[in-house]
């Protein structure tokens, strides 16, 4: 997951405030405030200073800030120590670090059944 923020194509700095639908075809890094919707099919990184009041859809996501809204991630979702989610999450795989806050329902794709090897 460390490579998630390697090359963000859209950067919302800590002094920036967005109201509406933020949609990108590339990676997004947010340190500011966003109200509305966030949508990317690529990677999303929400920094510790970010305040999100929006539904989030992303390919992969690493959340270190506060998110109030539903989070839908196709691949991996990681909630960092500083992360806080108030809303439902849906993801392919989930990691929650110690100290993170999450309040809501979680729904994950069922893993493929492991078929025992036959000798």
């Amino acid at each position: 997951m460390a490579r998630l923020d390697a090359n963000p194509e859209t950067i919302v700095s800590s002094s920036m405030r967005i109201d509406g639908e933020l949609k990108s075809n590339g990676n997004i890094k947010i340190d500011g405030m966003v109200s509305g919707k966030i949508h990317t099919s690529h990677d999303l990184v929400i920094g510790p200073s970010a305040q999100i009041d929006a539904d989030v859809i992303a390919g992969n996501a690493m959340i270190g800030g506060a998110v109030k809204g539903n989070v839908t991630v196709k691949g991996a979702l990681v909630i960092l120590e500083t992360g806080k989610i108030l809303g439902n999450i849906s993801c392919g795989s989930l990691g929650i670090r110690e100290g993170a806050y999450f309040s809501g329902n979680c729904r994950m794709a069922e893993p493929k059944p492991i078929t025992p090897k036959t000798e």
Partner: protein
């Protein structure tokens, strides 16, 4: 038929004669000769472009600086003409197009590799490379600019101001900045600023500490704001800047519009002859 519009505005007379001789010999060597006209106080680029079009010119070649090319593109407007460019000294747009010298430009014209590039449009003015606002950028070239004390002093003392804008009709944004750029193309692209991607890249620079001004002076001067921590980067098709009012928007150092302004990308609006070493 090639129609060369030569604009001697930035070079002295003696140097201009050398440039003109080099131009004549180069265009005849690569068999791209045509009518050559010179911009004067009485014959503006607009008049010369109208004249070229009325004579059925299919290719209009701007000979001069990036300003000359921008003026020719604005005079042509949305009409179907192929544009060529002969920079008489190394320029940013020349580098983007892969054209560094007069001889190379003539060879490029002879090769006739035509690319369709996006153009930026701000309040009815087209631009090829970028618009900037706020940040002071010193004159001159190369590393010497980064040692300019006036630049350092200006950057440190520059007050930040609130910018409010809307993007593609989808969201409104606001933030405090000391400057910004709306980039269609630039010579140090590195993933951003592709003039064929159908979007403009907006780079916004927040207030920096003295140390950061010193540390990132090269990035500030070259306009690589995305490499400076705390900067914002977004991609737009249409940007409407509403606040502040009266903020000058500059292209190649010239003020071409003031806010409130609508800045749009015109995808593939420019047919231009490009070189092998183009940056996109």
């Amino acid at each position: 038929m090639y129609y060369y519009i030569v604009d001697p505005q930035k070079i002295p007379q003696r140097e201009f004669e050398r440039v003109q001789n080099l131009l004549y010999s180069s265009v005849s060597e690569y068999r791209v000769s045509g009518e050559v006209v010179r911009v004067t106080g009485l014959r503006t680029i607009n008049q010369l472009v109208e004249n070229a079009l009325s004579h059925g010119a299919k290719t209009i070649v701007a000979v001069g600086s990036d300003d000359t090319l921008n003026d020719v593109i604005n005079a042509v407007g949305r009409r179907e003409v192929v544009i060529g460019f002969v920079p008489i000294f190394p320029t940013e747009v020349g580098k983007i197009l892969g054209i560094k010298s007069i001889e190379q430009a003539a060879k490029t014209l002879g090769g006739r590799r035509i690319a369709e590039l996006d153009l930026g449009l701000v309040n009815k003015n087209f631009f090829v490379s970028k618009l900037s606002f706020g940040v002071y950028q010193p004159a001159g070239t190369g590393w010497m600019k980064s040692l300019d004390y006036k630049f350092f002093q200006n950057m440190v003392n520059m007050p930040s101001f609130d910018v409010k804008f809307s993007v593609d009709g989808k969201y409104q944004a606001s933030l405090k900045v000391i400057g910004g750029m709306i980039v269609n193309s630039r010579d140090n692209a590195e993933g951003l600023a592709n003039p064929t991607d159908g979007v403009l890249d907006v780079l916004l620079l927040s207030k920096l500490s003295k140390w950061d001004v010193f540390k990132f002076r090269k990035e500030i001067i070259s306009g690589d704001f995305e490499k400076i921590p705390g900067s914002s980067v977004i991609h737009v098709s249409r940007l409407e800047i509403s606040t502040p009012v009266g903020l000058p928007l500059k292209s190649a150092g010239r003020v071409i519009a003031k806010t409130p302004a609508v800045i749009e990308v015109m995808p593939k609006a420019l047919k231009i002859i490009v070189g092998k070493e183009r940056k996109f």
